[in-house]
């Protein structure tokens, strides 16, 4: 039983080790890209649940990331001064949801507190994913793919076309997110190490949640749905409800990633909602192994980190496209499958096994 949490402990140890390594070798600057990679990983593990365990492809998940990011960005920067007289504003202000901050030019501005904005972002995401998820998940195959692609594109076109979302420039000057006194999500150099741990702490938390989910009754139901939906239905599993709930869960993961990354970067742009980003997430889940949480996480870390450091140069998008093709052609179940590891073990130990014998 306890062995299922072993990977998480191991993972946490690695996270701490990496941070200490950067400290001792004076490569602290890597922490920035590592922190950003952590937030992207939230999207990836959520998507892995959806694609791998519930068997639903989503080509528009960057849309949820963007919804989370933009809602919190908008609420924490939109100046409500002109609506000061509105009684609702007064109510929110007394409840501590709205605060006064300094604007760009030194004057006062009324904006939402980051906590309020974060909660709002999550609520909006839950709402949208429930509304969209219902009809979308009834579709199959191409139709599902196209519907999610369409959803992602709509989000992109809306954020790039609306001027109070900053249009093509996006939103900037997003304030830091004070989680607790002393713990702030922001890109300022002094709190860099803190932020690294916040980011990877959230990933560890997410993995904990998902590991529990997989081993629970719901997780078994999901695997049944993935392998043979009709059979699962016949066994009394409410497939529609399970698929929808996983869809919403993965959307919330993505949105939370979006909220935190926006506060960390201090800004967000429409490129976070683009189809290429969605394709990138799908490529990473595919290469990591559709139903392999740790596989997707590891590949996500490697690929996102390299991409953020610019190792792929101007071929960035092409790399992910090629990955998709190669993986789908040659290893549709992903690279880091259990069978690959077992096969490697057998080969290394020199024993030849025939089918039907226990390893």
């Amino acid at each position: 039983m306890r062995s299922r949490y072993a990977p998480i402990l191991f993972f946490s140890a690695v996270v701490i080790a990496v941070q200490l390594l950067t400290f001792t070798t004076d490569r602290q600057q890597y922490l920035t890209q590592l922190t950003m990679t952590g937030y992207y990983s939230l999207v990836i593990v959520g998507l892995c649940m959806l694609m791998g365990y519930a068997g639903q492809i989503s080509l528009g998940h960057a849309g949820f990331f963007a919804i989370g990011g933009y809602v919190s960005a908008f609420l924490t920067t939109y100046d409500l001064m002109q609506h000061k007289a509105n009684p609702l504003i007064g109510l929110f202000s007394r409840a501590g949801l709205i605060v006064t901050v300094q604007d760009l030019y030194g004057g006062d501005a009324l904006v939402f507190h980051p906590w309020a904005a974060c909660i709002a972002a999550i609520l909006v995401t839950v709402l949208i994913s429930y509304v969209i998820g219902g009809p979308v998940l009834k579709l199959k195959g191409h139709y599902l793919a196209m519907a999610t692609l369409g959803f992602g594109t709509i989000v992109y076109k809306i954020v790039i076309g609306t001027s109070f979302f900053g249009a093509a420039d996006g939103l900037s000057d997003i304030p830091g997110f004070k989680l607790l006194p002393g713990l702030e999500v922001s890109g300022k150099t002094p709190v860099r190490i803190q932020n690294y741990y916040i980011s990877w702490g959230m990933v560890a938390l997410a993995m904990l949640l998902l590991t529990n989910l997989i081993h629970s009754r719901a997780g078994k139901a999901l695997r049944a749905i993935h392998s043979a939906e009709d059979a699962a239905n016949a066994m009394g599993v409410n497939t529609g409800r399970y698929k929808l709930n996983i869809f919403v869960l993965s959307a919330v993961f993505a949105a939370v990633g979006g909220v935190f990354l926006t506060h960390y970067n201090g800004g967000i742009g429409p490129s976070e909602a683009s189809i290429m980003k969605s394709v990138r997430y799908v490529a990473i889940v595919a290469i990591g192994g559709m139903a392999n949480l740790w596989g997707a996480l590891s590949m996500g870390i490697i690929l996102n980190f390299f991409s953020l450091r610019g190792y792929f140069g101007s071929y960035d998008d092409a790399v992910f496209g090629v990955i998709l093709i190669l993986i789908m052609l040659f290893a549709p179940e992903g690279l880091l499958r259990r069978e690959v590891f077992q096969g490697a073990k057998k080969w290394l130990s020199g024993r030849r096994k025939t089918e039907g014998q226990k390893a």
């Binding site: 602290q28 600057q29 920035t32 890209q33 950003m36 760009l104 030019y105 030194g106 076109k157 790039i160 076309g161 001027s163 900053g166 249009a167 093509a168 420039d169 996006g170 900037s172 000057d173 890109g187 300022k188 150099t189 990354l261 970067n265 201090g266 800004g267 967000i268 742009g269 490129s271 976070e272 953020l308 450091r309 610019g310 140069g313 101007s314 960035d316 998008d317």
Partner: protein, 392 residues
């Protein structure tokens, strides 16, 4: 053998010790440009220009004896990449200054980062908010949008046109222009009869221009920086719009004229003088610089020079002059030096910086140009000295 080994080790140690010394002698300049992606028409010429200039500088022995090392990062116009690269360039490559980014959205994301790290940022993006409020280390080289708008309004007044139909794209550039137009129209007596925003990737704008024409516009002002500019004027002429068409300074690339073909004839727009370098009078202060840049760029890259590449050129020139003035590549000293620069001749105009003005260009940086027979020509005869440098 043993002696040889000792010798090798000694040489190696000397080289390793010398290496940092050598490294100290180079001036590292980072550039974050949108070489590929949706803003590639900005970033690609900017990158080429910088590479060309750094080659030339190094051939002449560098700046104050130090070679320049240029590190270009392709952000693909994506703000999160720009942010990641900015931090990388500042902390790891320990660059002395950053040129770019190409778009306003990216610049605004890294403005805070550059300021916090006290690294000079020479942006090639046009938004006013980059230099207003002024950040100590952030400068920009493109001209101010509001001057372009004022020049258009002045022209309209001369042509006795008052009703304008405004079309703009949903990019930062388009939005900024639209805001300036709306803000400045009343005081110049211009009435905006239609105001349409279109998607920058739009391939057909017939519906939009039809709406503008139906609203009774005497002139169309189009504010965008991507290929849609050519589509707008084509569609406008096709539906029979006979009024005057104005473009923004984003039209400053002959490719757009070629794409629009005959529809581009007679279009009027404000631009830097790079595009008419050859017909400038001999005593124009910018002529020498412009002609040289144009010739070098076109012979090296076999494509027409554009004003966008010119913004990168200006950034490099300003940095170079500031380093020479400060005497050494020290961030604080050079920053102060930039603020004191006056009369720097660039492609965008003649720059005069100050502590409050981190752009350095005024309305005289613009010349009204038009298109005749597929070529850029000045609207008025260039002998009308509009480009005299300010003497302080």
């Amino acid at each position: 053998m043993k002696a040889f080994k000792m010798f090798a080790v000694l040489m190696l140690t000397v080289m390793i010790m010398a290496a940092p010394a050598l490294a100290k002698d180079t001036i590292k300049i980072g550039a974050i440009l949108a070489v590929t992606g949706p803003a590639a028409f900005l970033g690609a010429p900017e990158a080429k220009t910088l590479e060309m200039m750094v080659d030339e500088i190094n051939k002449k022995g560098g700046i104050k004896g130090s070679k320049v090392e240029l590190i270009i990062k392709d952000s693909g116009a994506s703000p999160e990449k720009a942010l990641s690269f900015a931090k990388q360039l500042i902390e790891e490559d320990k660059v002395f200054a950053i040129i770019g980014p190409s778009t306003s959205g990216e610049t605004m994301k890294i403005k805070g980062v550059a300021e916090e790290a006290k690294t000079i940022l020479m942006s090639c993006a046009a938004a006013e908010v980059i230099v207003n409020p002024v950040a100590k280390y952030v400068f920009k080289t493109p001209q101010m949008d509001k001057h372009a708008v004022i020049k258009i309004f002045q022209q309209m007044k001369e042509m006795k046109l008052t009703k304008a139909g405004v079309l703009s794209s949903n990019t930062g550039f388009g939005k900024a222009g639209k805001e300036q137009i709306e803000k400045l129209a009343p005081e110049h007596g211009i009435q905006i009869v239609a105001n349409e925003v279109y998607d920058s990737k739009a391939t057909d704008l017939t519906a939009e221009v039809t709406k503008v024409k139906a609203a009774g516009a005497e002139a169309i002002i189009n504010w965008s920086i991507e290929p849609a500019q050519s589509i707008v004027i084509k569609n406008a002429r096709q539906i029979g719009f006979k009024g005057q068409i104005f473009q923004s300074h984003g039209f400053g690339n002959i490719k757009y004229v070629e794409a629009a073909g005959e529809a581009a004839e007679g279009v009027i727009f404000p631009a830097g003088r790079l595009l008419i370098a050859d017909v400038l009078p001999k005593n124009d202060p910018q002529k020498a610089v412009l002609v040289k840049y144009k010739k070098d760029y076109e012979s090296k890259f076999k494509e027409e020079a554009s004003t966008f590449g010119g913004h990168a050129y200006d950034a490099m020139i300003i940095l170079t002059k500031a380093i020479e003035k400060a005497g050494k590549a020290d961030k604080e000293a050079v920053r102060n030096a930039i603020e004191g620069l006056k009369g720097v001749v660039g492609t965008g105009g003649v720059f005069n910086f100050s502590a409050q003005d981190h752009n350095g260009l005024d309305i005289n940086a613009f010349e009204m140009l038009t298109v005749k027979k597929g070529k850029f020509v000045p609207l008025a005869t260039p002998s009308k000295k509009e480009g005299s440098p300010k003497k302080k």
